[in-house]
Symmetry: D2
Subunit: 222 residues, 4 copies
Amino acid sequence: MMKYPSTVRLLGQSHSLLNQFMAEIRDVEIQQDSLRFRYNLERIGEIFAYEISKELAFSEKEVTTSLGIANVPVLTNYPVLATILRAGLPFHQGFLKFFDHASNAFVSAYRMAHKDGTFSMSVEYASSTALDGKVLIICDTMMASGSSMLHVYKELTARGNPSHVHIAAILSSMEAVNHLKKSIPKKNVTIWLGAIDEELTAQLFLVPGLGDAGDLAFGEKN
Amino acid sequence: MMKYPSTVRLLGQSHSLLNQFMAEIRDVEIQQDSLRFRYNLERIGEIFAYEISKELAFSEKEVTTSLGIANVPVLTNYPVLATILRAGLPFHQGFLKFFDHASNAFVSAYRMAHKDGTFSMSVEYASSTALDGKVLIICDTMMASGSSMLHVYKELTARGNPSHVHIAAILSSMEAVNHLKKSIPKKNVTIWLGAIDEELTAQLFLVPGLGDAGDLAFGEKN
Amino acid sequence: MMKYPSTVRLLGQSHSLLNQFMAEIRDVEIQQDSLRFRYNLERIGEIFAYEISKELAFSEKEVTTSLGIANVPVLTNYPVLATILRAGLPFHQGFLKFFDHASNAFVSAYRMAHKDGTFSMSVEYASSTALDGKVLIICDTMMASGSSMLHVYKELTARGNPSHVHIAAILSSMEAVNHLKKSIPKKNVTIWLGAIDEELTAQLFLVPGLGDAGDLAFGEKN
Amino acid sequence: MMKYPSTVRLLGQSHSLLNQFMAEIRDVEIQQDSLRFRYNLERIGEIFAYEISKELAFSEKEVTTSLGIANVPVLTNYPVLATILRAGLPFHQGFLKFFDHASNAFVSAYRMAHKDGTFSMSVEYASSTALDGKVLIICDTMMASGSSMLHVYKELTARGNPSHVHIAAILSSMEAVNHLKKSIPKKNVTIWLGAIDEELTAQLFLVPGLGDAGDLAFGEKN
């Protein structure tokens, strides 16, 4: 078993339904059913939300039942759920189904190609709730180079000062993990992944990967 | 009963569960539950999708059952589902639950205030599938002045040439309807509304309306 | 266009997404995906609920919005939703998603074969909320001979006196419709159908039909 | 931290969204919204399904992606999902949303009061898929005395010989756990609970509990 940095949680490393759902979104036949593809992304989002919730703060609350008083732990604060357009939407939908009282942020990141062959990222659209002191979860289906995620991380943390940031991606390259870990603080950031794929092509595709998550969920872009 | 132009369908004019769900999203108490608020927007999206589907083209298809052959009408082509960020997302989600094989477009429209007190619209983000020859449905929760909808209509029809455009909004002002009807072709456009509210304030709020649909669904913007 | 008795509403007679979903549940390939099969039954249940709601009583209500008062029609009373185990459960689930405040009834009907080759029906399990003065909707996926539906109708109306009964089935034989119409009062009963299939076999299978809805939704019975 | 027998998993013992959802179903105010009540039971069912899946058998499978081959672990066999009518239905619905390829069983258990003040259980309705060699999950919202669950366990294991049985209940008394452990084999049975409530009244209500789960989900019985 490979050793990952302490702030990386690889949820697919042990067996569970998460692996079943990841197998289905990778499968070139099964992914033709876009309803099932989106539904699998949602279910995976629910599982990530649940696993991340195990590391959030809970407080005892006295709940009045019809027959007495129950002392039950409830979330001290709801996290803010951010995602990256458009591919992240169904994964985010799963997070929101479990963290249904959460506020949200939506960001689009655009990769610009320069004449010299290099790329840079810019943010076109960003809509966010206040982030100061909040736990922020940024979720996206895949991290290839990690540039979009890093750019969105920077955009959002420039707008506010969250107490902790959870970065969540279903599939990632090791390059993306290393890129992120170099560029973001060690403290107060946790990276949650479903699986780490072996190869990142020059065209920034994960292999074996699953193809283009946005196209599979919402149709090919013009 | 008020008379509307022939290309406007006012779905809330006759009684149905649509009115029940619209009552709930307007209600200042009930809308505090953001899960129910989003769910109501989804259910309303499903109802709009179903009503719009009655005007789409269907073709007979021979379907093989386990016991024989059934001749059943199926959609000749799936429409493209477009929405406006971020408030339109849960309404769009309802459309997508019913038109689950559809391709999609997401657009963000931004209102810029000028020094002279006027406004102009610009598009920040637009991601669309091919539109030529397609039936296009553009859905947004509310139309106040109608400027966002008109701007998105122009942006999308500049990118392709759909055979028909259905514009769908749950609540609208009469001003928005008139604004749209002046600015878009009479042919090949149908406007679908849940209810037309009496008043449009100078700050572009519908009254009685429901408040800010984006904030209620996703949390207050920073 | 065939003429049906005034108390029968054949929803699939005009084109809509209902026909699309009915095509999918009939299709021997598509129905292999039991998640999609159940989901289609739910969506059909939502459509039936919506269409039936157009004939229910609504009352104006003053709803306080954040900006004013809206006079909106809401359901005067929620119907009671009854279904027949186990095949009716996903169809019922769709009704409940739209009539989410409704109370419910669950009944199982058992066909007993006698030595002389005849059959009789008996109820094994019945759990119902109070029915007096309520609008009752009894939904089941299919009506072959109509005996189960008739038996459940009698069981429930023996337990209370609903003001109106809506009987809803996605697929039915003409024999079942005639059987019901002979045996239940003309007044205060409406029959809602998706499609009427041509043939009813001696083994009580609809042709072309869709096979065994319970097995397709929940797995073959032992 | 209390020590439970090795075959009992108390999922609410550590903090997670499960506790949040359990707080909501107990809360006498929040549970008035029956849609949210049923939805919470479903979400809890999904969490139980996910946690139980961690103890199921997985096999490596070669999945063909659009870009290569992924070796991914998938469920070796789907479990059979059994529930007890009617209160267990929404909890079961959550299991089925995660184990969507599973076959199912539905059982109703009836408590008969005798003249001498004692009770006995009988099964009215049981519909089950084949169980031999299968992993069987029996889920019910609550276990008060544990008699219904034990009766259904006996009914189902008389019909087939599952390789393992997982018994799942959101709330339970310690009496029910002890009753089950005395009456069922130590081997091949695992009990999964959300919380163990302190008190079981003479009328077999859990305290603090949540009231009658069936009534809250589906309306008061007549």
